[in-house]
């Protein structure tokens, strides 16, 4: 099942490098749309900075809302990339050569997007640096007890390792590109390739260094979303204060990350004519993984309900009753539909081998997971301990703009990435082809 077993080497190089041709009209249209949404978001961000958080729909006691949901959602989306790519690396999966690069890029871009939300969400964004542990004459340090500080560390570490992992993997391709293209891009790639010249010694070092990054990335990926979950789990808020949150968040993150990976790969496949490299079989594997995560999510939802009743805390019971039948009941049932029911389509071969259907399922999962984050952030706060203070929250139009702008920004960066950097690993595809050829020659190998 190698991706391009039957393709000749020059064809691989030609096809994978075809992504660097001058883009067509549809690309520009899509890019402009994404840029437009990003510009709108930037303008709204400026208004937010000028006037204050009052332009959101936040209130007391719901002090966190759509922006935090978006933050968690993008951290979640970031999840599958590096993690999946690293796992595929270690399992020597042939899938990796096709999907690994895009997934890694998705991670980096999603973290960059996610990182904007806490900045928007702060009361005094201009003092955000106070949360970094820098030496100052007042000897003031951030509060290392605060899960938010853990969060900053976890996300920064994950972002660093994801960038390094992505970049390192790209080195051979950049070196190759530097030979193939002309103009300013040649300079760019030459500088970026750090003098990688494809020698055996370099490859030797590369092959020894690369697994280290992959090995570090896997636990970090698990930790980052566990730590994000502690922003909630470490509090007293009913519906948040639960030990299930770390695995729940990691599962949810992989779930939404897979869905985003499927969407992006589907677009790459169509846009760059990579049908030979991203085949239905690959999508089928991702789809099955998606279904497995959907089952995990369903079981988490059921466990949460069970735990709420088992604990016997009236506040906790009240929260879950409120989620299912209260003011935000619609949100809850949309989540169940998108995350638990629609992914069941994967059970049928007809759907899981249809890329159109898989994109549909994935979009549903992305929506479902965003709403899930919205639901647990908002309902728990809205229905807190003091019934007198109960109050509903709804996104304001400006807040919604900011939430949607995240997706625009994400798409914009990804499109720029896809045109500027190799979104499918040329060297790995060739290696896989080579290995397959050898396997044909020598029988069983490695």
């Amino acid at each position: 099942m190698t991706p391009a077993a039957s393709l000749p080497m020059p064809a691989i190089e030609r096809d994978t490098l075809a992504t660097f041709k001058t883009p067509g009209r549809r690309y520009w249209l899509a890019l402009l749309t994404a840029a437009g949404i990003t510009a709108l978001g930037t303008w709204t961000f400026a208004i937010l900075m000028k006037r204050g958080l009052g332009i959101t729909g936040l209130d007391e006691p719901v002090m966190w809302g759509g922006l935090i949901a978006s933050f968690v959602a993008f951290i979640g989306i970031s999840h599958s990339g590096t993690l999946v790519s690293a796992i595929l690396y270690f399992t020597r999966s042939p899938l990796r050569s096709s999907v690994g690069r895009s997934a890694e890029a998705m991670t980096v871009i999603a973290i960059m997007t996610a990182g904007l939300y806490p900045l928007m969400h702060m009361g005094r964004t201009w003092f955000a640096f106070w949360l970094l542990p820098y030496w100052n004459q007042r000897q003031l340090w951030p509060n290392f007890h605060s899960p938010l500080i853990w969060d900053i560390f976890a996300v920064c570490c994950y972002m660093t390792i994801s960038i390094l992992f992505l970049y390192m993997g790209m080195l051979p391709d950049l070196a190759l590109l530097a030979k193939r293209v002309k103009g300013w891009r040649r300079t760019l790639y030459r500088v970026m390739s750090l003098g990688f010249s494809n020698t055996d010694a370099e490859w030797n070092l590369f092959e020894r260094a690369y697994p280290i990054f992959a090995a570090v990335a896997i636990p970090l990926a698990v930790s980052v979303h566990s730590v994000v979950s502690w922003d909630f789990a470490m509090t007293l808020v009913p519906g948040w204060h639960s030990t299930i949150f770390a695995p729940y968040f990691v599962a949810g993150a992989i779930f939404s990350g897979l869905a985003m990976a499927i969407i992006l790969l589907a677009f790459l496949r169509k846009g760059y004519n990579l049908h030979a490299y991203l085949r239905e079989a690959h999508f089928e594997i991702l789809a099955k993984l998606l279904l497995a995560m959907s089952f995990v999510m369903t079981s988490v939802y059921l466990t949460e309900l069970f735990m709420a009743h088992y604990r016997g805390s009236p506040t906790e019971v009240s929260i879950f009753t409120f989620r299912m039948f209260g003011h935000y009941a619609l949100v809850y049932w949309v989540i169940i539909l998108c995350n638990c029911v629609i992914p069941l389509l994967v059970l049928f071969r007809r759907f899981r081998r249809s890329i159109g259907w898989m994109v549909f399922v994935s979009v549903a999962v992305i929506i479902g997971m965003w709403f899930e984050r919205f639901m647990f952030v908002v309902t728990s706060l809205s229905h807190n301990y003091e019934p007198y203070g109960w109050r509903f929250y709804m996104l304001s139009a400006k807040e919604l703009t900011l939430c949607l702008a995240g997706f625009g920004f994400f798409a914009l960066l990804f499109m720029v990435f896809a045109k500027l950097l190799p979104s499918i690993s040329v060297s790995e595809t060739m290696q896989a082809q080579h290995a397959a050829a050898h396997a044909g020659d020598e029988g069983a190998h490695g």
Binding site: L53, E60, M122, R124, N384, P387, Y388, G389
Partner: protein, 1008 residues
């Protein structure tokens, strides 16, 4: 060029600042925008150090004493005055909020005159004074009358009106006292039953049972602080239950929520109940002297079956009520209050007075001010008491004070409430407005100027105006035209008066009809001496130099008399200020007045105390009347004048910023009404549109609306508020988003408000295991005890907190979004217990937890634990993640979603940071006061004493529900309370170990 001629830096600055100062001084519009520190402070002024001045609150006619905290020449906070027997150290919410009006941008800071074209224009004082004199002169020349319409002025300024009229050659009786919220029906009834034309006074402190006929003692009837304290003391005094409180009425008011038993009866059947009780009292109690013979026969039709049928109450309960009244010695029946009165108001008042007489309460708990009772009646056996007075409009005067001096026995000043700690560490200093005039100690102790005779009524004024007899009308802080059509005939008659002047603080509705609007000083800027009731003379002194270009009304009058050469009999020692300083003793000014105890005078029943000819008990009918009830936030019956009072939610309904109509859920269902549907209430007099509030405790046959928002329903010459029959209520189809603070009516059985039986204790809380060190000891543990047995939800603490801590007023739209900034809120939960509604109140502020959930989650250390047990909040360090706010189970933290506008920078407390947007804020137990007291103690080289630190909420609590102190001092009151059997913490199972201890409410003593 020589050095001297160079424009050096110093000279430049000098000239520059001088020029800008001149520029500022010439700005007559608005408040100064720059506050420039004095290089050389004025005499005795120490920058950064507060001064305290005693005065008297004029926000309502009650006359509570106040202590103004003045910083750098600006009054910034009003406290009660413990020496004044009316307020006893407390102020109500309105009193606390009245300082907002001092600095309000809506205050009138200049006189206005009517141009020939008809509009009012801003004028200068000389022109305004001339115009006023011209108007008066014209009236005098035409031999027409000059008449005053004034708010209750039972003091020097009031008497000046009479003297001034005399000097002008007019009848001194041409002074109409305009007190629209005074319960006139009580006066009229007293005239008929006792031949005393005055409001009765009650002594709640002695009563063992108080039965209120819709009388909202905390919200209405003239003295809310006394009412609040009286009801609290009734519940508990020291270690024992003092008495019981039973409330009958058509609507669950705030006062009613404090009743042991709330009996909801059919509106309009109060008279039947009162007469039924009278009838039973005849058989249960020995007859008092002087009872008319035919009374038993006249009362015969009001047997318990008939009364039960009329009121909708159970006959057994009525009997039990009668037995309770008869066996309580003494009892007290108060009322009828505003929400219980209709067309039968006066007769109901007579029935209630008769009930008091039959129950033997005359002279013990029920009586009159000694000055009001004719000498022939004044009984010799009157005792000193801390009687609750009704509004003091012309109730007593100096002659009476002197005339009845023998009643004012030489008793010490009334005992202070436990909460009223002295606020002044080192005594108050009398203010000398111009900084140089010494006080002249020449006043005879106990001397007060004669009060005006209030012979002229409003109706008579209207008649004379229509006859064209009135040449000039002078309004003095009276705004009759604001009350809808209630004084419409006066409004019409104004057209017949050639000259109308208005002394006012705002360009109110009446001022807009005036020819000359004369901006008066705020009461905190001027002098007066008030004879509030027998034995109580309060001195109102200016606590700051007038802020705006205003002029004291008395000075306008004196100057006018001078310029018209008609000064005969008027004080000739200069201005009001000069005169008052000449006659008042500085010792009395420091005390805020001259206070003695006075006895209630016992009235004597008239020959025919009630006429019941051709009357019989009513029957239940289904006219659904509209009941207009008073509001604790609008003592003058007018809404919308003070933004702070609009912002603080009504305790019972949690509504703010607009009016509402209370609708029973069953009625709402039947008529398809939901909360927020706009209903049109219309009567013969007019109609108003108000949003419906579906409210479980509301009666099915009553639509109730707060009077201040429903003035459109008032009829000409009608009563202000009460029951309006034949009203129609229709759905308009419009919607209005009511601002409701409460997210839930019910406490969801979370046990937030706990109750214990008499002499019972709460089960001991399990000591929960914790991973944190529990023996973390600091140098202190500041703590607050909230006695839910005493708290009655009057909301004064909330207002005090707003003013003290510079809390922003955010307005209706932001309140609707749930962004109220209150640090202290009164949560109310409504429960139906055996069909009767029970309202539970819970004041919630930051609980200053020992293991505070907010502290570990703050990434910036903006909130941390001090070694005094406080959760400090460092506004400077806060970056606004709002993590702390989420993690606070008490929802005590407030976020600045915007940089909220403050109406005036001058009103800000300089000891408290004004928070900008993006930071969290919350209650700090008034940490600025803790620091202030600590610094004071340090300067005096002594340890801090118990009771020296008084947070704003604690200081103004008339019920004595709040006690503050150091928990680590074993003997402190708060430590003792926290060890009591009633102590508990809210959400105790979260193990946050709060610093606020709640004391469970003792169960009501229900009527069996």
């Amino acid at each position: 060029m020589s050095d001297a001629k160079k424009l050096g830096r110093r000279k430049f600055l000098g000239v520059g600042l001088g020029a800008s100062a001149v520029g500022l001084a010439s700005c007559s519009k608005g408040l100064p925008r720059l506050i420039v520190p004095q290089v050389k402070p004025s005499d005795g002024e120490i920058p950064g150090k507060a001064r305290f001045y005693r005065s008297v609150c004029r926000a309502c006619p009650a006359g509570c004493g106040l202590t103004a905290r003045v910083r750098e020449g600006r009054a910034i906070k009003l406290e009660g005055s413990p020496l004044n027997p009316i307020g006893q150290g407390a102020l109500c919410a309105t009193g606390q909020a009245t300082i907002e009006e001092l600095y309000s941008p809506n205050r009138l800071g200049h006189p206005m005159l009517r141009s020939p074209g008809g509009g009012l224009y801003q004028a200068k004082w000389p022109a305004a004074q001339k115009a006023f004199e011209a108007g008066i002169k014209a009236a005098l020349d035409q031999k027409k009358q000059v008449v005053f319409v004034t708010r209750p002025e039972p003091g020097f300024v009031g008497s000046l009106f009479g003297l001034w009229l005399t000097a002008l050659g007019q009848d001194p009786a041409q002074v109409v006292t305009f007190d629209p919220m005074a319960p006139d029906w009580l006066k009229a009834a007293a005239q008929k039953t006792f031949g005393v034309n005055a409001l009765p006074r009650y002594d709640l402190s002695r009563a063992k049972l108080v039965l209120s006929f819709g009388a909202d003692l905390m919200e209405d009837l003239g003295s809310p602080v006394e009412g609040s304290r009286g009801l609290s003391n009734l519940r508990r005094r020291g270690n024992r239950r003092n008495g019981r409180f039973i409330y009958v009425g058509p609507r669950l008011s705030l006062t009613a929520t404090q009743a042991d038993t709330y009996l909801s009866l059919r509106p309009g059947s109060e008279l039947d109940l009162a007469l039924g009780l009278c009838r039973q009292m005849l058989s249960l109690r020995p007859h008092p002297e002087g009872l008319p013979d035919g009374l038993a026969a006249a009362l015969a039709p009001w047997n318990s079956q008939a009364v039960a049928a009329s009121t909708g109450l159970d006959a057994g309960r009525i009997k039990s009520l009668a037995r309770s009244i008869a066996s309580a010695r003494p009892s007290l029946v108060v009322g009828p209050g505003r929400s219980s009165v209709g067309e039968d108001a006066v007769q109901l008042g007579q029935a209630i007075y008769l009930l008091n007489a039959l129950a033997g309460n005359l002279g013990s708990t029920f009586g009159f001010d000694a000055a009001d009772v004719p000498a022939s009646q004044a009984a010799a056996g009157a005792r000193p008491s801390t009687a609750l007075g009704m509004s003091g409009n012309g109730g007593s005067n100096a002659a009476a004070v002197n005339g009845n001096a023998d009643h004012a026995k030489a008793q010490p000043v009334v005992a202070m409430a436990p909460s009223s700690q002295p606020l002044i560490p080192n005594g108050s200093t009398p203010l000398i407005p111009n900084g140089s005039t010494p006080l002249i100690p020449s006043a005879v102790e106990g001397r007060a100027a004669p009060a005006p005779k209030t012979a002229l009524t409003l109706a008579e004024l209207v008649r004379r105006a229509e006859a064209g007899d009135i040449g000039a009308l002078i309004f003095h802080h009276a705004d009759p035209l604001a009350y809808g059509d209630a004084f419409a005939s006066l409004g019409k008659a104004l057209d017949r008066i050639p000259f109308i002047a208005s002394f006012t603080n705002r360009l109110d509705a009446t001022a807009q009809h005036s020819h000359a609007v004369l901006a008066d000083h705020h009461f905190l800027e001027t002098w007066d001496q008030l004879a509030l009731r027998t034995g109580v003379e309060a001195i109102q002194q200016p606590v700051m130099i007038p802020l705006l270009a205003t002029k004291a009304a008395a000075d306008v009058l004196l100057d006018a008399a001078q310029n018209l050469n008609l000064t005969n009999g008027l004080p000739n020692d200069g201005s009001l200020s000069d005169h008052m300083q000449a006659v008042l003793h500085s010792r009395d000014i420091q005390k805020g007045g001259i206070f003695k105890t006075a006895a209630l005078a016992t009235p004597v029943l008239a020959a025919n105390p009630i006429d019941l000819t051709n009357q019989k008990p009513g029957t239940a009918s289904d006219t659904s009347p509209v009941v207009l009830f008073p509001s604790v936030r609008h003592l003058n019956g007018l809404a919308g004048t003070n933004p702070l009072l609009e912002e603080i939610p009504d305790t019972v309904t949690s509504a703010s910023w607009s009016g509402w109509v209370e609708v029973n859920p069953a009625t709402a269902k039947r008529r398809g009404i939901e909360t927020g549907d706009v209903l049109e209430l219309s009567t013969a007099a007019g109609s108003v549109e108000l949003a419906a509030l579906v409210f479980p405790p509301a009666r099915e046959d009553v639509f109730a609306a707060p009077l201040p928002y429903a003035t459109g329903l008032l009829a000409d010459n009608g009563r202000l508020g009460g029951r309006i029959e034949n009203a129609t209520v229709t759905k308009t189809g419009k919607r209005f988003d009511l601002v409701l603070a409460a997210g839930s009516f019910s406490d969801q059985h979370r046990g937030l408000v706990r109750e214990v039986g008499e002499n019972e204790t709460l089960p001991k809380a399990k000591s929960l295991p914790t991973l944190y060190p529990t023996d973390r000891q600091g140098k202190r543990r500041w703590s607050l005890a909230v006695d839910l047995d005493k708290c009655n939800g009057c909301g004064a603490c909330v207002a005090a907190c707003y003013v003290e801590n510079n809390i922003a007023i955010v307005g209706a739209d932001q309140m609707r979004l749930g962004r109220s900034m209150e640090w202290l809120r009164i949560e109310r939960y409504v429960e139906a217990k055996d069909g009767a509604p029970s309202v539970k109140l819970l004041p919630v502020m930051c609980q200053q937890c020992s293991d505070a959930p907010c502290e570990p989650v703050c990434p910036a250390y903006a909130t941390y634990h001090t070694d005094e047990g406080l959760n400090a909040q460092v506004y400077n360090r806060c970056v606004g993640t709002r993590f702390c706010g989420n993690n606070c189970p008490y929802v005590a933290r407030r976020f600045n979603w915007y940089t909220w506008p403050h109406e005036s920078a001058l009103a800000m407390n300089p000891d408290v940071t004004v928070r900008s947007r993006g930071v969290m804020e919350k209650c700090t137990f008034c940490v600025q006061r803790i620091r202030g007291a600590e610094e004071q103690a340090k300067m005096e080289k002594r340890p801090l004493k118990e009771g020296e630190v008084v947070p704003a909420c604690v200081g103004t609590c008339s019920a004595g529900a709040l006690v503050f102190g150091d928990l680590m001092d074993e003997n402190s009151e708060v430590a003792q309370l926290s060890r009591s059997g009633r102590a508990y913490h809210i959400l105790e199972d979260l193990n946050t170990r709060p610093g606020v201890t709640y004391l469970a409410r003792r169960q009501n003593e229900e009527l069996e």
